[in-house]
């Protein structure tokens, strides 16, 4: 089943204002750089973005925030993204902050047909407001619901023409669950190979979850915190 599209423009056909997008990555690690650049170019607005964080001010999803293309962020971490924090505190941007594990599991649940599940994370905090609480084994849990998206945009290391994906190291992060949860899932990969070249035993995201795949033109792979030791 050939899922290959010729370039990023073709990959993002159908993305419109007001849509909900999942965008893979953790910080600047494992983010779909080419697709994000294209979203800026397209100028689509009022997006709801589900992404663990929003990159930094001038890279990653931070670029969409700068252009005011995002209406709402569903994330676990703002961190060092000043523009994100500013827009949130000023009320320009709606933000739904949720625990990182719940975010990951809610994406997986969306892809796996599980509409809701109980987790202890967030009990007794703002996160639990308005959510059902139930005690299991003497411990209170809250009911969390599945997340889905019109488009999920993920980044992988290698992919084949059938849409099978392999991620590298910690660039895997949220990408596999988001790939499962998109009505249309777009994968940009560093290296696109013919079907049969990847070991079927070693695929991280089976191609059934991927509708479109392309080889990204350029990956800057910016490092957020370069920490080293000397020899």
């Amino acid at each position: 089943m050939n899922k290959v599209v010729s370039n990023v423009s073709e990959a993002l056909i159908g993305i419109e204002d007001n849509m909900t997008l999942m965008v893979g990555g953790f910080g600047l690690c494992g983010i779909p750089e080419n697709s994000i650049a294209e979203l800026v170019k397209l100028g689509v607005k009022n997006l709801t973005c589900i992404s663990n964080n929003a990159g930094v001010d001038n890279f990653g999803l931070g670029l969409l925030l700068q252009q005011k293309q995002v209406k709402k962020m569903i994330s676990s971490y703002v961190g060092e993204n000043d523009e994100f924090e500013r827009q949130m505190l000023s009320g320009e941007l709606e933000v739904d902050l949720i625990p990182q594990g719940s975010l990951a599991e809610r994406c997986r649940a969306g892809g796996a047909g599980i509409p809701a599940f109980f987790t202890p994370a967030g009990y007794g905090t703002e996160v639990a407001e308005g959510k059902e609480v139930r005690v299991f084994n003497g411990k209170p849990h809250i009911l969390e619901s599945a997340l889905e998206a019109d488009f999920a945009i993920v980044k992988a290391w290698k992919g084949d023409t059938e849409g099978n994906l392999i991620y590298k190291a910690t660039a895997r992060n949220f990408n596999p669950m988001m790939a499962m949860a998109g009505k249309i899932t777009v994968a940009e990969v560093e290296e696109l190979v013919p079907a049969g070249e990847l070991d079927p035993n070693q695929i991280h995201t089976p191609g059934i979850f991927v509708q479109r795949i392309f080889q990204g033109e350029k990956f800057e792979k910016r490092i957020e915190q370069r920490t080293v030791r000397t020899k």
Partner: protein, 218 residues
Amino acid sequence: MALDKVGIAKRIAQELKDGWYVNLGIGIPTLVANYIPEGIEVEFQSENGILGMGPFPFEGEEDADLINAGKQTITATKGAVFFDSAMSFAMIRGQHVQLTVLGAMEVSQNGDIANWKIPGKMVKGMGGAMDLVASADNIIVAMMHSNKAGESKILKECTLPLTGVGCVKKVVTELAVMEIKDGKFHLIERAPGVSVEEIISKTEGNLVVPENVPEMVL
């Protein structure tokens, strides 16, 4: 004399036990990895998707695809594993990680912790902290005893939005090691040269002080 960050990390490192999987938060907790007691083996989990986190890479060997939860470039040890975020929090939520060390803005005497938000002023987000504190059996908080204005952060009740409820077991500050049980802080050790009186004066929460409070041995 009050401990510096390294001192706090060194003291917390004494809590490590052989065979433990450990999650270290951003900041002081990260430093704990540098002071693993001799003769024991522990493995570090970082919630962005690695088990077997090693030291920082040598210059020129950084890999943008290999970072920790603080977005710092790291290395992987022999026998390390990479995985996705759902699997990572399956480990955490499923209590397969034996110890979590994290920072805090406030801790209360019943073990509540606040570390993600100052309403109207600052929002970092909870990241993985809410999952970690709601799940881990063994949570140690590394923090300063007071804020920059000199107000105690060791409180009867947290004033900031909570990260978790009744979950903190132990707090290590620049002044003291305290256990939390029965709704009170219990002073266990004091930093070298720090008086019990100073600790009492800087602790707003109920503090149980035994007759003899040993100095930390670092």
